[in-house]
Homo-oligomer: 306 residues x 4
């Protein structure tokens, strides 16, 4: 298995120059495009890694898996009255759908949906408290107290996040955001700025591969059914408008971020995190996707092939 | 297992009155709403059934799984230049997306995509020949020469199919339909009018659960990889705008039809067909979905929970 | 006045090379791009012309003014239950709006609306009869029996009109087309293929400048109120998505066609027809629009400046 | 003429109960639905009035005519690089179009367009200064120093204006808003809260009927050409998605506001203001529109009928 990871890493390392690094946030544009890491954490406690697996990167939208989990823990399935569970499915972006669906975002992984999730977590508290709660939760999941938020990235998002402010105000006009927009966005921008390494990320996602329980710490996070359902959402909605293609090629639940990270669940077996900053046209890590496709291909781990 | 199927059948039989029978085609509106069948064909050759499992019904869009398989056999992955692989994802219907995406349908399971698939199968022949080829293929998959097309349903579709004629003409204006529209629609309407029983349907889908090979006949249908990919498409796109919800609740690849049938793959284990004509708001069998949710729940067969 | 027309003609003649000739119909693509004519017919019977004013060209969508007038004569204001009176207003084309507005086109000058108008004129007759009626009506308006339909253009439209077939089928799916689609399109394609010279066209439109009555023949065509209303529709909807711009720059009711013709009403004063085949991005005659802007500027004939 | 106005007032007074008063802003919902006024100011200095013509009401979007005029005075036709001149033309609201047209609103009279205009007027100053400038300009146009802004209405807009905040942030994400969103909206909400009587409003609009010059004060406001063009924009875009219908029925340039006011230009003759708070489905004064239709009908003042 380690040989397999090394081989895939070696083959793809040469292609990290492909794709474009996200540049809409100045802080993200500074990242070294040649960074590349693969970390596989098995549910039995073994792990296989290659490349830059200990260097923290901005997990961006991958954090939405964790905030969704946290929000479901707070208000349970009543969340689904405020956020849908369907792929967003249009190349043109989500504000159109908000209009057609009266302020209800399609799913918790598009920006609008994650902003509603942040509103749920805010729950009457100050942004500082909510951000702290999210960070503590992620540290708990990864069993690693060193995980932190990159303040420069959070500030960068705040300064340029007009599109997200539009989404939040728009949903507020329908009553689907309950707190002041700037507070909600404060929470949202900060959790997107969480920095983690591949190894930390793979560990933090391990509960999803193990029926809701972290096999390393033994702590239960969510019920078996909820773990299964979060995986389903990742598969159908985890890669923006490339979700269908990712399911087709890789066949595993995953969530990508514009920082170039992807977190993938192999139900019953492993949690995988990859990182390569060059993005494809849909905003997903190009080489990261290829690495996952190769891993799925060679291991036969696709959920569709057993 | 048989006890489980009997119990689920018994519990849900009382609810077959829920939902609305499809009425846009007069022939479909005539069906008895209380029909209900569950057929589970295991890859090991055993089977578990309950209810109306030997009565043929109009499989409608479930046939798109078979025509996709046939078209991929003819032209391989070049099909994907003419049809996408992403969930359609909008509640408003698909002609809008065709406009935005220049005549390329989002996936092969929405009407527009299946019409392109029919155009591929037509391949210069007369509709009669293409229809014959599709029917022979389905009979081969199910290993049952008695399967036929309901001519009254096919005629009914032809008479009222203005929306599909609009889609086909629209795609033809972009050059993505190569044959005369009436010929392509002739093929499309006829394969939607295939009539099969739950038992036949479950058998016809068994190759998808068994790595591309029908375990009952031993015949290979597609490669392991292609079987996996068709399953992925069923999971992300198989239930119109309820695909995300079906993945969330059931967690298995499936394809529904407005005749009330659903075909589901349990990779490595089984093929399931259910039939109950009452539909939910998205056009999927209401009681059929509940039956599959219960089966997945009790067996733990979700692809997301291993 | 003649000097003014000569001067504007002279200045703009040098620019007829600008813009692109419509090429979606092969027959239209063959036209000589340097053709340019201006014909002003005053309500007092005088006329001022310059350039190619006696050569017939394909009037295309300008014919929609005449078919609208004819349809209103047949069924009166009940037409407005089937066609709206609002500018179409989106750069992306009209099939989207048909979806949102359940098969009711925005106005009678976009393709979908004109197809409904053709359906009204068809009124249970054969296409041949309806086409004959339209042609007789246009000859009556222009008081010129030599006007005819170019059969090569009509055939050309029929062969390539998949987009219009999509629109017609789509509206038929909502019940807003009452006859067989191929018959309705037969009427539509033929009236778009009417060939007229600038001089004929200006005369045919003169009733709109004169309270509904042709001042040359003395025949009443429509009531004063209906003439006013048709002018209003031309002003708000006559130039596709360039209607607002034309009103802003020229300030007169007009209807353009992709053959490069524009018919304009100067209420109380004159009817103007210009022809220059080079089109702007919205499909309106580029030099023709400039000629009309210059005429309006120098004469002060804008409806907004009295 | 006075008799005509009295008669129309008398006939329609009985129907002021029709339509719904705008309730999205609490302050507007409090207005007495039975208020009704008609003021006609002729360019020759005579005037004809009936009903509640001296009571100030919230002019709301009618103010956009004045801010457009002011912004054109500041930056001239370069404004048109940031705002279009086409009718918005869709029943579904404008944020969709902003997405398709990359942050450029269709015209200066829809909310998004007027927000860009407010951004132009802000021009680096503080909102207080810009608001003061707009108010002084309107007082100058009406030659009436008593005109003021209703602070309760302005505050009410600010508190509930999430939809407008969404539009402004969205345009800012495309770079088409240059100042802080809250400052721009401060200007926008305040000019919408200008309170004027019918008489004041008709006088303020008189320059548009008189080639750009106020005939009562003798002061030039804009060039003849600009007056003509503003009238053209009012005709094509002045009544939201009812603009085509208003042109069809009334045939005069007009701008409505959800406070129930409508300002109309009769080029060369008069400026008319009507007020009746009950609105139709498009947000235009129901009885006000009927009054204008009757005036246009009986006087023959339509721009399309001379």
């Amino acid at each position: 298995m380690q040989a397999l990871v090394d081989r895939i890493y070696g083959t793809l390392k040469a292609r990290t120059g492909e794709g474009r690094v996200a540049d809409y946030i100045p802080q993200l544009a500074k990242v070294d495009r040649d960074k590349f890491g693969i970390a596989i954490e098995m549910v039995d406690g073994t792990s296989f890694v290659a490349g830059d697996v200990d260097e923290p990167f901005s997990i961006q939208s991958v954090s939405k898996v964790f905030t969704l989990t946290l929000a479901l823990g707070k208000i349970g399935d009543s969340l689904w009255a405020r956020v849908g569970r369907e792929p967003s499915g249009t190349p043109f972006n989500s504000i159109v759908q908000l209009e057609h669906e009266r302020g209800i975002p399609r799913n918790p992984f598009i920006n609008a949906g994650a902003i509603v999730v942040a509103d749920v977590i805010l729950a009457g508290h100050e942004p500082r408290e909510a951000i702290g709660e999210i960070l503590r939760f992620v540290r708990f999941l990864a069993d690693d107290e060193t995980i932190s938020i990159d303040p420069a990235v959070a500030r960068s998002e705040t300064e340029t996040g007009f599109r997200n402010a539009a989404l939040a105000n728009y949903m507020r006009s329908f009553g689907n955001i309950h707190h002041a927009v700037e507070k909600v966005l404060g929470v949202y921008f900060h959790h997107c700025a969480i920095a983690m390494s591949c190894r930390q990320l793979a560990r933090a996602g391990l509960f999803l591969a193990n029926g809701g329980r972290n096999p390393l710490t033994g702590f239960g996070v969510v019920s078996r059914e909820r773990a299964r359902r979060i995986n389903a959402l990742m598969l159908t909605c985890g890669h923006y408008d490339g979700s269908g293609d990712f399911a087709f090629r890789v066949g595993l639940p995953g969530k990508s971020g514009v920082g170039g990270g992807i977190l993938v669940t192999v139900p019953g077996r492993a949690s995988i995190a990859v990182w390569s900053p060059g993005l494809d046209a849909n905003g997903n890590s190009r080489v990261g996707s290829l690495a996952l496709e190769a891993i799925a291909q060679e291991t036969g781990w696709s959920v569709f092939s057993r």
